[in-house]
């Protein structure tokens, strides 16, 4: 790994200050489990001048729950999420998603904020300088998206445009089902961004001089059902081929409220609104679940090699809905 200037930030304010100073040429390091890969493989057109360690910034490592809402600090590790009895009792959707990420050693390092902010896993984008890379592509501002004509088996099947890399974050899928927002701090103060809106086809809605502070979501009502499932070629440890998360409230036998989210199918967690709308006010049974599963993928436009992801997405949605029946 090539050297860089390394700065230990001690406050949110100082971090933003440093980010502004480097004008986009500094990178934030939290757990390091994604940033270090980006640096080791020298995949970016410009190697960062500075790396800012935020591990010692106070006030970002917490999990708090009350009757109305849940807040998770950006520095809470995935292991911390997995072990939180507060979360596992009421928000298994989140602990299941966290548990599905990598292996235990990485979960001890990786943070929740970092999981949301990690760079895409597109294998063209990530192609290492050590073996004839980096590869130029649209996301790096130079050339077309290679996945369109190349090997796109893991790329977007819904809403694909410009760059077909998918959102790699399992936490984003689960958090979107929980209607979560993140709070970011920047030079002009704080603002809230819904988790699903963090992601654009080519970049993120969190700017180079902003820092993600925490994630919050409203408490689920007591009789809500929830589930996160992830399809990988091997058991967990892998990035998702497709993941799905849902929260659902049933009242008097009818679906009162439901959120269905698909992960790894689009540049952002995909809300299957057509399926949600269809189910609302209906009884959830095998028949309606099957129809909803079809509707969840009705906007899919697969590329040459990834139509199978649509079938898998459908199957995951059906599985989740069956489990709610």
């Amino acid at each position: 790994m090539r050297a860089f200037k390394h700065i230990n930030a001690e406050s949110v304010e100082e971090t933003i200050n440093i980010l502004q100073h480097y004008k986009g040429k500094a990178k934030i390091n939290a757990g390091g489990s994604d940033l270090l890969l980006v640096l080791k493989d020298s995949i970016l057109p410009e190697y960062p001048e500075a790396v800012i360690n935020i591990k010692n910034v106070p006030g970002l490592d917490f999990i708090s729950c009350n009757d109305e809402s849940v807040e998770i600090g950006a520095l809470a590790t995935l292991d911390h999420i997995c072990r939180s009895s507060l979360l596992s009792q009421k928000y298994s959707i989140l602990t299941d998603a966290a548990k599905s990420v990598a292996g235990p050693q990485i979960r001890n390092l990786a943070t929740t904020g970092g999981n949301l902010m990690q760079d895409v896993r597109c294998w063209y984008y990530r192609y290492s300088a050590k073996i004839g890379g980096p590869v130029k592509c649209l996301r790096k501002g130079n050339g077309p998206c290679l996945a369109v004509k190349g090997d796109n088996r893991y790329h977007a099947v819904i809403d694909g445009k410009k760059c077909f890399a998918v959102c790699p974050s399992d936490m984003a899928t689960a958090l979107t089902a929980l209607d979560a927002v993140v709070t970011v701090a920047g030079p002009d103060g704080k603002r809230a961004v819904p988790v699903a809106d963090i992601y654009n086809p080519l970049d993120k809605n969190i700017k180079g001089d902003e820092l993600l502070l925490k994630i919050s979501f409203p408490a689920l009502s007591k009789n809500s059902m929830q589930r996160f499932v992830k399809f990988t070629l091997r058991k967990p440890v892998d990035y998702a081929v497709v993941s799905a998360a849902s929260t659902c409230e049933i009242k008097d036998g009818m679906v009162e409220d439901i959120r269905i989210v698909l992960g790894a199918v689009s540049c952002r967690p995909y809300r299957a609104k057509a399926a949600e709308d269809f189910l609302k006010g209906w009884m959830l049974d095998e028949k309606t679940a099957a129809i909803a599963a079809e509707k969840a993928v009705e906007d899919a436009k697969p590329l040459s090699k990834n139509a199978y992801k649509v079938d898998i997405a459908k199957s995951l949605v059906k599985d989740i809905l069956f489990s709610f029946c």
Binding site: R2, Y124, I131, G132, L233, I312
Partner: protein, 763 residues
């Protein structure tokens, strides 16, 4: 003489066990020397191009950089079959091909220098498909090789080296057949065994002195230092080469092909006159080191109702990537192995070894036979289906029996003199419950909603248990101890300890009193190494012979002092005694406190024995998601005698990893024909099995004494991976009801096949 063995067959703690569990075991990257430089490779971004210019000025200016070498700076060292592949060339032939070499004082400086090298290429069209590459309009990778078709013969296996498998009269064979099937199957996912330890070396160049030639000492990571030396000598010509082996962190055959990393480090050391350590990154390990050869079989088989194969005819296309060093040898052994599993009087199998623009293929356990059978067995299965033949009956009928024979790698016909493996085949099926689970071809064993199970089986045997020459010394000491001099280094199988166990048992001394020489080509006699399946029989024989030779010399030495004939003597725990009068004994020290006795042992090749491994698998396919789960594996084998029970168990468990069963399930190296890049060259994107997915594996092991050496063993380790992949393909075909023609059975592939079938049925 029938005394019980003390160590062979017993669970003896491996000599290196404590070193391994405490972190003391030294692998190449753990060695450190003063002034050691770090070597790195700048690699091509183009799959096929001529280098127009390389600008290394900025790289040379980085503080700490000691050498930057390009093709213009190095001698014309070359290798391959034929010898057309240069250590650095003006042309690059795959994305990741070496363009420049850098030596620097630190890793960071080397990385900085890498980022500053500028190369201008004149691009050439690439070719990635094995049959496409053969077309006249396709680009040639080498001026010297027309249409990318390599010679199929390697003189290393002698003038009649087996290349094409041709015998009998296929036309009359087909005319006798009850069914003829023609199809194409391919095992082209070029899976990579990816041992945990990446390829690497430390090289120290010495200038010529006192009339001795220039020389280089290499600390390597592989299990065959002498073979390694032979390869390097053929490349470096007049340079003397000394190889020192270390703990090898896995090889699975691949690391014999370390000549490139070794030449790079040697050239950098020659330029900087300091020792250079070069350890490949995992990315280089996957994208720029050797892969399994790609295998595609376009052929026709004829079969009779009783399971007799009347003829096999067709083309075997073997994709070797951008060069071949051993592919011809793999093809030769593969053609031999096909005959061990399938009896047919008539063959016309033409092999085509082809260069394409990807990193090269090299040795991987299964050595040619696994590649061929992964295609041949599914083809035979299609014929079995038409005749409603149970594959269990077919394989049992066809696997080699005493008196049968085969053309082996040297083109010579050998009559098999080993055992009948029927017992192992039957017992494996019994343990698995084959008869209950087998429902017929293309029929699932069970259906439960979208989940279907299916079963499959495969078989493999290899007569290279007795290939090539081994030599060993055993030196015995007056204190009742012995040193084994053998050029084997430990690569995970436990064989080094096993050979020491053999010495201890022949000499009847405690295992603790046996040590082994350092693995150094300067010290030890010639040793081909634990390549293929030769460890137990070939190397074991040389070791046993050396120990016996030392013992016999000792008896001759002490016989007069015991007033007996040498043949009347025996030894136990450092005492030589008269067999009929054990109280007449002398301690080994009576050879003289200032003496030692050295025995010499040699093994000469013998291709008349084979090992055997059978795997039965059960899979579950989710017809909706295309996911395949491995539910159960039963392995069955007869090894003659177990040398090391836990070691054997470990070898049989490895039927899953390192390009065994998992190469049918999810392992593949993704070469993208659009860009020429290997897209999954890291351990996140390359799929490998984790501890969360460990299906039950049951192993059935028989010990029918074999006519090999005094321990009557032939081993099985290497081929543990070989029957599995085609068994999985068979099981998945049965579960889904559709023939699967390619590996691995990814959801992408299966869902396409399932939906095509559904559409067909709907019409």
């Amino acid at each position: 003489m029938a005394r019980e063995h003390r160590y062979v067959g017993k669970n003896v703690i491996r000599r290196d066990a404590e070193d391994i569990v405490t972190g003391r075991a030294k692998y190449v990257n753990d060695l450190n020397f003063p002034d050691l430089l770090i070597g790195k490779v700048f690699r091509s971004s183009e799959p096929h191009a001529v280098i127009k210019s390389i600008d290394k000025t900025a790289a040379l200016k980085v503080p700490g950089v000691k050498a930057v070498l390009t093709w213009e700076d190095v001698p014309d060292w070359k290798t391959g079959v034929p010898e057309v592949t240069r250590v650095l060339d003006k042309k690059v032939r795959f994305t990741g091909d070496a363009v420049a070499l850098i030596a620097a004082e630190t890793e960071e400086a080397a990385d900085e220098a890498l980022s500053l090298i500028k190369v201008e290429y004149e691009k050439l069209p690439p070719v990635y498909d094995v049959e496409e590459a053969l077309k006249p309009e396709s680009p040639d990778l080498y001026d010297e090789i027309k249409n990318n078709l390599l010679p199929s013969v390697d003189p290393f296996f002698g003038p009649d080296c087996l290349s094409d498998l041709i015998m009998g009269d296929v036309e009359s064979g087909f005319s006798e057949a009850d069914v003829i099937v023609k199809d194409t199957f391919s095992y082209e996912n070029i899976p990579n065994p990816i041992p945990a330890e990446q390829p690497g070396v430390i090289a120290k160049w010495e200038e010529s002195s006192g009339g001795a030639p220039e020389s280089v000492t290499l600390w390597v990571s592989n299990q065959f230092p002498h073979l390694n030396r032979m390869i390097l000598r053929s490349i470096m010509r007049k340079v003397d080469v000394r190889i020192i082996g270390n703990h090898c962190g896995g090889s699975f055959g691949t690391k014999l092909m370390s000549w490139q990393v070794q030449c790079y480090a040697a050239l950098l050391s020659r330029a900087a006159l300091k020792p250079v350590k070069m350890i490949y990154s995992k990315e280089e390990h996957i994208a720029a080191f050797v892969l399994r050869p790609g295998s595609r079989l376009r052929a026709k088989v004829g079969m009779k109702k009783d399971g007799t194969v009347t003829a096999v005819s067709g083309d075997w296309f073997v994709d070797t990537g951008y060069y071949s060093k051993t592919t011809q040898l793999q093809v030769a052994v593969g053609c031999g192995e096909a005959q061990i599993a399938v009896k047919s009087k008539n063959w016309n199998l033409k092999t085509n070894i082809v260069c394409t623009n990807r990193n090269a293929s090299g040795i991987v356990r299964g050595f040619g036979g696994q590649e061929l059978k992964c295609c041949l067995f599914p083809l035979l299965s299609r014929a079995m289906e038409k005749l409603d033949i149970n594959p269990f009956d077919f394989f049992k009928k066809n696997f080699i029996r005493p008196g049968d024979g085969y053309y082996w790698r040297d083109g010579v016909w050998y009559t098999y003199r080993g055992i009948d493996f029927t017992k192992a085949i039957d017992a494996g099926a019994e343990k698995f419950g084959w008869n209950e689970k087998w429902k017929g071809w293309l029929k699932p064993a069970s259906v439960n909603g979208v989940l279907r199970t299916g079963v499959g089986m495969g078989i493999h045997g290899n007569a290279d248990v007795g290939e090539d020459v081994s030599e060993a010394y055993v030196r015995i000491h007056p204190n009742g101890g012995a040193v084994l001099f053998s050029g084997v280094s430990e690569h995970g199988t436990g064989q080094v300890s096993n050979f020491m166990k053999m010495v201890a048992d022949v000499l009847r001394i405690p295992f603790e009193k046996v040590t082994k020489s350092p693995t150094d080509s300067l010290v030890n006699p010639n040793e081909f190494g634990p390549a293929g399946s030769r460890g137990t029989y070939a190397i074991g024989s040389a070791v046993i012979n050396a120990a016996e030779d030392a013992r016999n010399k000792l008896f001759e030495e002490l016989a007069p002092k015991l007033d007996a004939k040498p043949q009347e003597l025996d030894t136990e725990d450092g005492f030589v005694f008269v067999k009929d009068d054990p109280d007449r004994k002398l301690h080994w020290s009576k050879m003289g406190y200032d003496r030692s006795i050295t025995g010499f042992g040699v093994f000469e090749p013998d291709f008349t024995l084979s090992n055997c491994m059978i795997s039965f698998v059960e899979v579950e396919v989710n017809m909706e998601t295309g996911q395949t789960r491995l539910l159960k594996v039963v392995n069955s084998t007869d090894v003659g005698m177990v040398i090391d029970p836990p070691g054997l168990k470990g070898q049989l468990y490895s039927c899953l990893g390192s390009s065994g069963i998992d190469s049918a399930l999810f392992e593949e190296t993704v070469l993208d024909p659009y860009t020429g890049h290997i897209l999954n060259a890291n351990l996140i994107d390359y799929k490998w099995r984790t501890s969360l997915e460990l299906p039950p594996i049951e192993n059935v092991v028989f010990e029918t004494p074999m006519d090999s050496h005094c321990f009557h063993a032939v081993g099985v380790g290497e081929i543990a991976t070989s029957p599995g992949p085609s068994a999985v393909l068979m099981a998945v075909s049965n579960a889904t009801g559709s023939w699967i023609h390619e590996y691995p059975v990814t959801p992408e592939r299966l869902l396409k096949i399932i939906s095509e079938k559904t559409q067909k049925q709907d019409r």
